[in-house]
Amino acid sequence: MPVTSVRRSVIPGFRVTMAFTLAYLAIIVLIPLVGLPLRTGSMGWSAFWRTVTDPRVIASYRVTLTTSFVAACVNGVFGLLAAWVLVRYSFPGRRIVDAFIDLPFALPTAVAGITLTTLYAPNGWIGRPLAELGIPVAFTPTGITVALIFIGLPFVIRTLQPVIESLNLELEEAAASLGASRWQVIRRVILPYLYPAWLTGFALAFARSIGEYGSVVFISGNMPMRTEISSFLIITKLEQYDYSGATAIAVVMLSISFILLLVINALQGWSSRRVAA
């Protein structure tokens, strides 16, 4: 009796679960998504190109991408530091701090948005001292960056933590016993090992920031050409019943997200190969 065919047939329920899975996936996700390329297709190439290269739209990409990039960089630096501290050092309250790292995932983005705006407004707890130093935050690109730092914070830490835990201590000992200083061990042994996961976390934070809306709209002030993000521009177009314009920008943003997703998948593959090796 061939074992493989028994394996396939003995457990019941394949047909019914598979049928439900495919039907639900099609109705909720796939069929609605088809509208995006269809609508863009019916626009014609020149109208599409004119919409997505309009100066105000270009400015929105610039604002979205630069603030997302800066926020991901800040999270890259402090996320690495925090992940290292949380895994390697012990201090009172470590487990509580660790649980709070996921706050930005759990907190509704609108709540984050109004809270950060209030904190960083010119009369806010943090905004007032900064304004006195001549650094306005709310309603400037800096404010958008602050919101995106909050939103992206868990990605770098959560991606790095398991990899730091999996670091082979013997490797560090071997390097140390061969006379390497701690700094050399960190630079030559630890950081190269963490590098793929670090980049993955950075890319995840960056990807999330590009599509972010709720935490940003309040603090950004939404000034065209200056602090208007692409997601906000899509909503503006929709409110003017310019469905084609909204869709065209959405397709550009979605393409950027998918390219990032491919990059992230490649990075994750690299990271897991490195950990397995």
């Binding site: 679960t17 509208g35 949380l86």
Partner: protein, 295 residues
Amino acid sequence: MSAEAGLIVAEPIAATTSIAPSAHGRRLTEPAAVRWTLTLVSLAFLALSLGVPLTAVFVEAFANGVAAYSEAIREPDAFDALKLTLLAASIAVPANLLFGVCASWAIAKFEFPGKQLLTTLIDLPFAISPVISGVVFVLLFGRQGYLGPWIAEHDIKIIFAVPGIVLATIFVSFPFVAREIIPLMQASGTDEEEAARVLGASGLNIFFRVTLPNIKWGVVYGVVLCTARAIGEFGAVAVVSGHIRGLTNTLPLHVEILYNEYKFQAAFAVASLLTFIALVTLVLKTIAERRTHHH
């Protein structure tokens, strides 16, 4: 602990290279001053980014006293928003739970071509930004949408109405349960289910008696994340809602309206309810995480 254990292993090598063991111990971690600095810098960063905003929500919510707070959260519009939020979540979460269980059963217990593609498609809503998730439904059901004329003829309202909010909520919280339990079901294999089948158990019996005990904390984890997203979703719901008070306002949208009307204290009072739900989510998530690690 592991660093001390490591010392014993490293000692013979230390003897041959004539490095004093004490120097050794120091090299397996950073000097105390560095450790302290790094810890304090990270904690300061986390306090500034997470602790201060969390505190600010509650301080602002109670800025005008307890009476103003309770008035803001008992206001009829806030109550209607709460009802709609709970309605959307109570449809989205069970639907996505059922989907997650079916999808993971099919993917984890059977071999079929295109499995990798199916897993990728399930994750798709994660890659789509909230606003675009809302746009997708406007393109389908909106006034100029593909099904717009048909819907208008039959006097059905989806966009700027409750069905649109429910659909958008289902869409954004779609993958949470499935992606948590697929790997768990794959890890527990098929041997136990096969044995139960051979002994004559029915499909549902196998699932509830054999499979579920192995994955139950994963299910809890997925449901918690799914619920948090369903309750807190803003961008997608903002696109399809039309912000009709008492009708199509969810709690996060109600927070936005209050804030834009400069009713800051009321906005933060409602926001504090959502923050409280977020804190409960964190607690449940931490518990579920510890349980899945122990299994």
